[in-house]
Symmetry: D2
Subunit: 395 residues, 4 copies
């Protein structure tokens, strides 16, 4: 077993850990450890909510979750020799649950507190707890399904430079001031701007803490450095190429998902869990310019579960409430594909909430199938039918 | 070989065929043939432009293409016993090129005439011609790549009812009147409204032709009936479940693609070709209500080319020109993922146009990876690296 | 469509074709055509029995088949520049049935005339005819199954040199003289030695015909040149590297299989059909020594049908009649695995003959799983359960 | 983490464990623990040699291994309610290395002590040690390869009845008395008959120990109960259906392989390791007769590594030393395929021993491709080329 360079005590919140991690992005959050190119090591992670959710049948913890706390991350890890402009090569050698914490949860956030992709359809909080048995997950809250997850970190990336951070803050603030598209639900927010409340910034203290907390970016969106990409295929065996923006790269990670569907549609939509990640790191000097890199790129692993039978749902960019036609809007088209799948699943004995939770966390594939056939985008959602214990095809 | 129920003469335009097809959607276009549930038959199709593009090195035919002509379709086929509310089950038993017409083309339309996903980056017309050799395609215009296509009809669907047609026309007209999202390029159009110019409506003539041509929907977008979905996975061996809106279902198809990438991003983006489709049809009575069907659903075939090695590019919903932040905009995010891939390919000896054409037509996977992490959507583009004759990973 | 360099008239036997092929191996059978490295061309093939089997419900044609006629081959093709010691690189660009001959057959040969792997269990002739619809096969003789085939030439290879031919004849004669292993059924023969009866040797005539016919090898076994390997994965998109033994390589092929299971256990065990093959050829000069080549090697294609659910049967090298223990005998072990699968299929409504035919021709995988655990070899047979229209797992 | 029902202390031999397991098969070896149908639990296993092999560069431990000790097994586990004639359903929920023992070894046994498939070609002992990093294995003794293993128990099965045990002993003794096939190497043995030396029989003592030890079967071969099948696809997520021969089934397991090629050709041929297995058990009453079960059957898991590019070697049943022709001998044919692959690998910088070790333990596929084309069997070996860091195709 590789050496564990970041440990977590599941009985304590992140700010009380012996070596605390962080829940904001900022170049000045101190590294917790240094490694060399070629090193192999283990990092432990808490679940993204810092332990706010319980393995029970009461969704009030999902409803009342404090989102100023998220996402609690393990790191930053300083990689010796990494400099701005380099590429940090990260191999995800293994990912798994922590012994004696082998369960996970999927939630629908209430519209008033977090919301999600279909918040206008499912405004109330709901929760499914998952029992993890080896490679399989099953839930007493969604009977009749069992599947192998594509385990991955929902969130992984290097620290931004101060310049990049400033860009993020400026453009997100501008969005909040300008407003969103016509189909934007009234709540929740357009973006989460810097918020010192409940910020955890490693060992920073005092005035330095205050300075950083005031401008550190929230961890919610994916950005140029990677971050909360929620890409379900960043699984065991993947190799990720990260742009490096600061000395030492300052790699952090968390939000481990036992399984997630493309889009992670219910927002708390993966099978969220604590866990560990085994990593190998290396550096490609000057790689960003050499390869024209803006965002991370990656090579997926080769041990993803293999399904061969899918049922695929289509969606087009027409609003389901108003019938309004949107212009090549893949967000609306994917929403319609998801809603079509949910309606279908309801014919097979699932409630709408169960179906919504299931599409969020099962290994469903979401595709941008057609994006040029004006005015309709066509998105598709592919549901692996082998995860069900009944025949799912029309007859 | 199953009986051919719709033949095409490649030397003649669609309106001069012995039995002409159509290039608009309307319930009153007469069926060309009737079949029974359980029948197996072959349908021949012209390429979607009705033969306007030549196998040469001059892209002026792409630049000057007459888009009032598209898409020329084979059908409608009346399925005996199919009634509104039923599901039409269509098995795609085989799809292929026509003997002695085994080539295809991929085009970038000029911004002034058609445009495409990246029209502000690639405003000029371009063309790649493909040589089809069995399961493989290669192009003298994009040396260094060779791949097996996922052959499929870009366009297949049943006729709309008059009510559904009216809905389409109303909502698309409203969009044109209201305008598109901020990132909409100035040209081309937001939508193609009914246009009698060059309409082909089977055997309709005179006043009836004029009435139908005035209100028949253009074939460009996918809609509730399927239509121009451009779903690359509707390939050999697929089973499609179509909603039926009119007596006899009136199934039509065309726009055969030897291969296409998710999104078909350059618009004339697949390897476009003429070809044949072998079909088997059946009916599920009352299936639309039984399964809550709005759009078609399908089960993909099991002989798609199998790649195991991909390089995956990420994109987020930030405008590449202005840096403006969009709210969970998967269109912009996928555009950024495509642009990231193009920049990368340029480092390996491809021109931007070659890369754009390649992402349009090669079997690339486009995913809606994260759609809830406000304010950034995260889309990914997965490029199968085995199609290249060089090592495509960073080193 | 590539130029057809070898045509067949299905209404005539091979020796009456305008350009006859051959059904024996000998270096002096004249080439029918010459091609250059880099050429792409089509070869048509008759079924391996030269049209002896009919699409009907009467297996007497299988029972009475004249096996001195097999296998009728198309070729030889002279590849300009190929010399002994070179590697001939052959790409199988496409393979398919001939239009209007889209059916196939699978047979159990009678023990007295041909036999097969389980001839002591199934001594009577039987036949299943298959209806080919695009990528799928189904049979009125084995209801309840439908599958996509892995289409391939059962037989393909270059001509032997005189020396190699002499080696073949000597060692096979020695076997006939010495006898087989204890589990060898009393009939049929141990090997088929040269036999002039019904020999077809291209355009050879007179004394030259007689000389060659007397020593030409039968086509039944695979040998160093490839030949009747019956490797089901030599399918569309494969690249084969053949050793070259004579000037011009003299490539021949035939025995096209719409589908076959590993082992082709009933001997006439594939879905046998006539058909065409599109090929591309090239040469690696001096490749045999460079790569230490004895037998052909190949890279399989990437459009094989994709199944994910299998039921796997084990067999060990203990005789099913006598209980005798054999030493690491993979032949016996695979036989037991097949018999175990047949017994299982009989519990699901299939007759033994249907099960035997099905394992012969469906895409089952036969594995040498363990070959060192004295004294038992362990072979496994993997049956794709998605080809059945019923649930095939124990409950 | 499921409860661990069998623990191992890696510092002690099996007979000194607090609860010892066993290394022979006999119905009267007492169960170590009882479980109920539906239970989930963990079993720890020592490596098959009981810790005789060290992680170093000296193969003398392989050369001098004491094979009377193998295979040390964990169990038997009594499943409440299981009776002769039932099927025991075993789900392999997870399999992995023990923390802090994450390494493995592959050995070539000396001809004088164990031997292997190619013992006449490689008579000397050799060893490769593997470093396990998450899903990947690499070895300082075979540079240039790295692969993801298909981890599985080489040995798992239920106890035989006394009758079945007697049958085993009788037939194996008869083989030893009768002799093997002509290609059998002079040494090692034909079979391993009961041998009390170093027998470990759980808690049995005294006269009962002596009685059982005298007749207990060695664990080397796979037999009707499963046992040492060395089927590489019995991996994570598999469901195995075992015949039950004694009350409580008495399930045992061991010989965990991080990875193995089909055939496990060098005998000590997998990446051998200690480890754990998480299991779920259930019972199908009366299942053996219902499904005609003789040997176990199984459904493989869906997280096996996915390779798409293979190089496939053929072999036929002609002796490589004498040129003697064997009759449909799949053992000889697979041996020739392996030898062909080894010769090829030697052209790419590997020694023969390295190649032999690699084919033994890497995820290579061994197929019985043709078994009816008298007199030659055709076996194939498929080598996944993505495991190499160089291009492995002929050029």
């Amino acid at each position: 077993m590789p050496e564990t360079l970041f440990k977590v005590d599941l009985t304590k919140p992140m700010h009380e850990q012996e070596v605390p991690g962080h829940n904001r992005w900022h170049p000045d959050i101190p590294a917790v450890v240094s490694v060399n190119p070629g090193d192999v090591f283990r990092i432990e992670c808490k679940d993204w909510t810092d332990g706010q959710i319980q393995d029970n049948d009461d969704p009030s913890d999902i409803r009342d979750v404090d989102l100023t706390v998220v996402h609690v991350l393990s790191g930053p890890i300083h990689v010796n020799g990494a400099q701005p402009g380099d590429i940090l090569v990260v191999d995800l050698l293994d990912i798994g649950a922590l012994p004696d914490d082998e369960w996970g949860f999927t939630g629908i956030f209430a519209r008033e507190n977090g919301g999600g992709f279909l918040t206008d359809h499912f405004p109330e909080a709901a929760k499914a707890c998952w029992d993890l048995q080896g490679i399989f997950a099953s839930s007493r809250h969604i009977p009749g399904v069992r599947f192998a997850g594509i385990t991955h970190p929902g969130l992984i990336g290097c620290a931004p430079s101060q310049d990049l951070l400033n860009t993020w803050n400026a453009r997100e603030r501008a969005l909040v001031e300008k407003g969103g598209p016509p189909w934007k639900p009234a709540i929740p927010a357009l973006a989460e701007l810097p918020n010192p409340q409940n910020a955890v910034l490693g060992t920073l203290k005092g005035a330095e803490f205050d300075r950083v907390a005031a401008e550190a970016a929230r961890t919610v969106p994916p950005r140029e450095h990677g971050g909360n990409c929620d890409i379900k295929n960043l699984s065991k065996g993947s190799r990720i190429y990260f742009p490096v923006y600061v000395d030492g790269a300052k790699l952090s990670m968390g939000d481990i998902h036992f399984s997630q569907g493309d889009g992670e549609i219910s927002f708390c939509g993966a099978i969220e869990m604590s866990g560990y990640i085994d990593l190998h790191v290396d550096i490609i000097k000057g790689g960003m310019e050499k390869y024209g890199m803006v965002n991370p790129i990656f090579k997926p692993g080769l041990v993803e579960p293999r399904y061969s039978e899918y049922l695929i749902f289509e969606g087009i960019s027409v609003d389901e409430f108003t019938g309004e036609q949107y212009y090549l809007d893949a967000h609306v088209a994917y929403r319609r594909a998801c809603l079509n799948a949910i309606e279908y699943l309801k014919k097979f004995g699932f409630t709408g909430e169960q179906a919504y939770l299931l599409l969020s966390c099962a290994p469903v594939e979401g595709r941008v199938s057609g994006i040029v056939d004006i005015p309709n985008a066509c998105c598709t959602l592919a549901l692996p039918t082998e995860i069900f214990d009944q025949d799912m095809f029309p007859t």
